[in-house]
């Protein structure tokens, strides 16, 4: 484990955020791991977003992919396995000025953290979640994951996995996530665009990125790599240009169409499956509760409020 200190130059306040200011510890991933490309893309995303440096939070649970926060020079945290989302919800709701990014693996997100994923999604907490799906447990060295395909020979299913794998897109749609996209770690531009759109989406946005574990599941996603004879099929998004061909295009606001798209045969399509711009975020709804409560109390100061409560208890 490298603990080389971060080489970061303090940017002057207001200066654009550069990759130089964003790099931190050198990644500890195996050479060739798909996660490197996700990291490189994320630097580009942050450069483009150019948020105030101190307002960015990079957060994760446990797994190879979840080492991410050590490699990004922002406020960050490395929590426990599967629970990054509820922690990140606390960050997002605790300080609405922050831009919260959560990274993690398929085991972290869909197995041990599966219930948190459902609830953070349905509550539409304002944060961006990037699932680096390698369809295997990388950190613990090759056990079956909830996205491992049937027949995958792991250390826990040496004869080939036979439990039905999760369909990540359908799981996310079903949970009520308001931005659901899918990308591939070999497609840097596409990944960058998906993460950018996710970051700008108000509410719970998820990007699932197929990111190969070269150590324990080599070639897992070749079917979507043109260089290896596969097909990287982009979702043809509706442009609303009135053209006749536009009618056949995918409307991300159409949940039923998104479900259909999610049911396509492997390796499926890539792009934005679903985007709901109208549902209020948890952040907004909780803020409304507070605003209404304070209207009722006429914005009384804390001491006066508590004093009036105790006066009623006399």
């Amino acid at each position: 484990m490298s603990s080389a200190p971060a080489v970061a130059t303090p940017p002057a306040p207001g200066a654009p955020l550069t990759k130089k200011a964003l790099v931190a510890d050198h990644p500890t991933w195996c050479p060739g791991c798909g996660d490197f490309a996700v990291l490189a893309s994320f630097y580009r995303v942050l450069e483009k977003l150019n948020y105030p440096h101190e307002k960015i939070v990079t957060f994760a649970g446990i797994g190879c992919s979840s080492r991410f926060p050590y490699f990004v020079n922002t406020h960050g945290g490395h929590f426990i396995h599967g629970r990054a989302l509820p922690f990140a919800a606390g960050i997002s709701l605790g300080n609405d000025d922050l831009h919260v990014f959560v990274f993690g693996g398929d085991g972290d997100g869909f197995s041990i953290g599966g219930n948190h994923l459902v609830h953070t999604a349905r509550k539409n907490v304002n944060l961006t979640y990037v699932i680096m799906d390698n369809s295997v447990y990388g950190l613990t060295k090759k056990q079956t994951s909830p996205t491992s395909p049937i027949g995958f020979k792991s250390k826990t299913d040496p004869w080939g996995a036979f439990d039905q794998p999760i369909n990540p897109m359908r799981t996310l749609l079903n949970s009520g996530a308001t931005f659901v996209a899918r990308s591939h770690a070999t497609q840097v531009n596409h990944m960058t665009e998906m993460m950018l759109r996710a970051a700008k989406h108000p509410g719970f946005s998820v990007v699932e990125i197929l990111s190969e574990c070269v150590e324990f599941f080599e070639g897992a996603f070749d079917a979507a790599v043109p260089r290896k004879g596969g097909a990287f099929t982009l979702i043809d998004e509706k442009k609303n240009d009135g053209s006749p061909e536009d009618a056949a295009r995918h409307d991300p606001a159409d949940e039923v169409a998104a479900f259909k798209l999610a049911g396509q045969a492997w390796p499926g399509a890539f792009g934005v499956f679903y985007e709901n711009k109208s549902r209020k975020t948890k952040n907004a709804l909780e803020a409304e509760v507070s605003v209404k409560a304070r209207e009722k109390t006429k914005g009384a100061a804390d001491l006066a409020l508590l004093q009036s409560t105790f006066s009623r208890l006399r």
Binding site: A6, P10, I80, R83, P86, A89, G90, I91, D302
Partner: protein, 626 residues
């Protein structure tokens, strides 16, 4: 009978025959829909407002709607420390109430029963039996369609007459309580009250009492000049957190913790904060840690089963040195156990739960009032030491109502504002030579290098490390800060003799019964003291010197004696001080300690015949005629 519309409800001096008492325990037994609990609520609120310095203390068993329900109230002058061992008066609404609870009435006590429903055993002449037409009296007074609704208020009137309570204040409380509903309800309530109040006047010759102050062996507190407030332990804890500057929290419902989260869910938004209901306890503790990470010290809570679920995240909080307050309202365990009963069996879990070496802080409130102050103390310690703090309350405290001095809020309120100021260029999240104070997300760091809060072992900057030396150093850092805390703690409250035969030691809600037990033990001529510990872990320094001054140190607690014959706190103390004269009194019947149980437990350990004779002795405040 006085008209309900008259502004003055009946008052009048107590009959000349009224006898002075300073203390009475009344048990009301009926069904939960009879509103028995609200009789107690009224009496408690009255006590809080009374010039007579009457205090009440009560237990409210949580019952499923429709089932039998009991409620015990103890009123007296001066300090009331426990719920009272046996009732001086039993009010029985039904035959089943009578049968189930007559055993709790002290021989010589007064039985008031509803003559419409109860036929007491005619052979049983141990008590003064009073047949009151509670049902017909209520129906006749209220009339109309309300049937026997209002029986509770009728009984309240009855008690007000018998004990010469302040009627105008009670009437005001009834109007406050029902005022929000329609006029008829207030009128009906007052009709029932007046009828109940009038009945003893015409039907009882000499069952009248008046509270009078007495000195309780010099233990009574000086009368207070502050207004009194009346609330239960969970409410006190919730508002203590607010006073302590806590504005964020997250939880998952479980009895008897839920009312804290319900209060905070509604209250915190008024203060610009929020409390979230999460999908489970793991999410709740995680979300609370997320709040803390933004600089907003947060609270989560549960009962024992939920505390178990939070343990992995609490291990992280120790490693990452993230402040958080965790309230555990203990109930009978393990597992679902006895969810509506009291126990103190989560002590070891609170101190040692989780994995690895996880030093943390555990505090326990001694009574309802202390629930308020312990919350402020927990917030102070969590911030100052950047640590998880567990508050061990219990089911008894959670629902018990007590009256106490209104807190001096202007001097207690803590500013919740997170410190998002810029950190200097040499900022280190985990300095080896100082207590960690995090740079919350959102704060600039002058070096441009931002920290990662982490559950991996780390160096001073938060980088993961596999260095054996650093792991040892960081374990020491996380441990040593609590030695600093221990050294700063005030000496625990020591009452009675400072040396002698026996030292009674308690933690949590056993404070009250133990104080009363101490008075009885000393009354029997035994030199004895009582030491009560609020800071359960780390322990304040210097206890061994106190322990050494007594022949026996008897630790009374509500948990099992375990395989080795000692309760959980006694085990801790024996391990910590290696003193074999530390012994245990434990029980797990799901009920708070009776004073006599503690006295009996002590008697066993010190083999004093003088003390044995006092076990079960009635207090001087007998209601009986003979």
């Amino acid at each position: 009978m006085v008209s309900p519309n008259s502004p003055e409800t009946p008052g009048g001096a107590a009959p000349a025959s009224a006898r002075s008492i300073n203390d009475v325990v009344i048990r009301l037994a009926g069904n939960s829909q009879d509103g028995i609990q609200s009789i107690g609520g009224f009496l408690a609120r009255l006590a809080g407002r009374s010039d007579q310095d009457v205090m009440t203390y009560m237990t409210i068993p949580s019952t499923i709607s429709g089932g039998p329900s009991i409620f015990q109230v103890r009123m007296g002058t001066g300090d009331i420390l426990s719920a009272g061992d046996r009732a001086d008066m039993l009010v029985a609404f039904y035959q089943h109430s009578y049968e189930a609870h007559i055993g709790s009435l002290r021989p010589g006590g007064v039985l008031i029963y509803d003559s419409d429903h109860v036929k007491p055993n005619a052979e049983d002449n141990r008590f003064t039996n009073v047949a009151a037409p509670i049902t017909t009296g209520t129906v006749e007074a209220v009339g109309g369609t309300s049937k026997d609704k209002g029986k509770n208020i009728y009984v309240l009137g009855l008690l007000a007459r018998i004990f010469d309570l302040e009627v105008p204040k009670l009437a005001a409380l009834i109007k406050e309580r029902f005022g929000g509903k329609n006029e008829d309800i207030v009128r009906n309530a007052m009709l029932a009250f007046d009828a109940g109040y009038a009945w003893p006047q015409n039907n009882l010759r000499d069952l009248f009492y008046r509270f009078e102050a007495v000195d309780q062996n010099g233990l009574a507190a000086a009368p207070s000049t502050r207004p009194q407030v009346t609330l239960d332990g969970n409410t006190a804890l919730a508002y203590g957190l607010i006073a302590g500057g806590v504005r964020h929290g997250a939880g998952y419902p479980i009895t008897p913790w839920s009312s804290i989260m319900e209060i905070l869910r509604s209250e915190l938004p008024k203060y610009g904060g929020m409390f979230l209901q999460c999908e489970d306890e793991i999410a709740a503790v995680s979300t609370a840690l997320g709040f803390s990470y933004t600089g907003q010290l947060a609270i989560t809570g549960s009962a024992g089963p939920g505390l178990s679920l939070k343990m992995e995240a609490l291990g992280w909080a120790t490693m990452a040195e993230m402040p958080i307050i965790v309230v555990n309202v203990q109930r009978g365990g393990p597992s679902t156990g006895m969810p509506t009963n009291v126990e103190q069996s989560d002590l070891m879990q609170a101190i040692y739960g989780s994995h690895g070496d996880t030093p943390r802080v555990v505090l326990a409130p001694k009574n309802v009032e202390d629930c308020f102050y312990i919350a402020i103390e927990a917030a102070r310690i969590a911030r100052a030491y950047s640590t998880p703090v567990i508050i061990l309350s219990d089911q008894g405290l959670s629902s018990r109502i007590e009256a106490f001095d209104e807190p001096d809020l202007p001097n207690l309120m803590v500013d919740p504002k997170p410190d998002l100021s810029e950190r200097p260029a040499d900022f280190k999240p985990y300095p080896l030579n100082a207590v960690t104070q995090h740079a919350p997300a959102g704060s600039r760091v002058a070096s441009g290098k931002y920290p990662v809060v982490t559950g991996l072992e780390h160096d001073e900057l938060g980088h993961p490390t596999g260095s054996p030396k650093l792991h040892a150093q960081m374990n020491a850092k996380r441990r040593e800060k609590f030695k600093g805390l221990a050294a700063s703690l005030p000496a625990p409250e020591l009452t009675g003799d400072s040396a002698g035969e026996v030292l009674l030691v308690t933690w949590g809600s056993n404070w009250g019964p133990a104080r009363e037990a101490l008075a009885r033990i000393r009354h029997a001529g035994i030199k004895a003291g009582h030491l009560h510990v609020r800071h359960v872990h780390p322990l304040p320094n210097g206890l061994e010197e106190t322990f050494a001054r007594f022949h026996k140190v008897v630790v009374a607690e509500l948990n099992d004696e375990g395989l080795y014959g000692f309760g959980q706190f006694a085990m801790m103390l024996r391990a910590r001080y290696a003193m074999p004269h530390i012994v245990s009194v434990t029980k797990t019947d799901g009920l708070t300690f009776k004073v006599s149980e503690i006295v009996a437990g002590v008697a066993q350990h010190i083999e004093s015949t003088a003390l044995e004779a006092t076990v079960g002795t009635a207090r001087s405040s007998a209601l009986a005629r003979s």
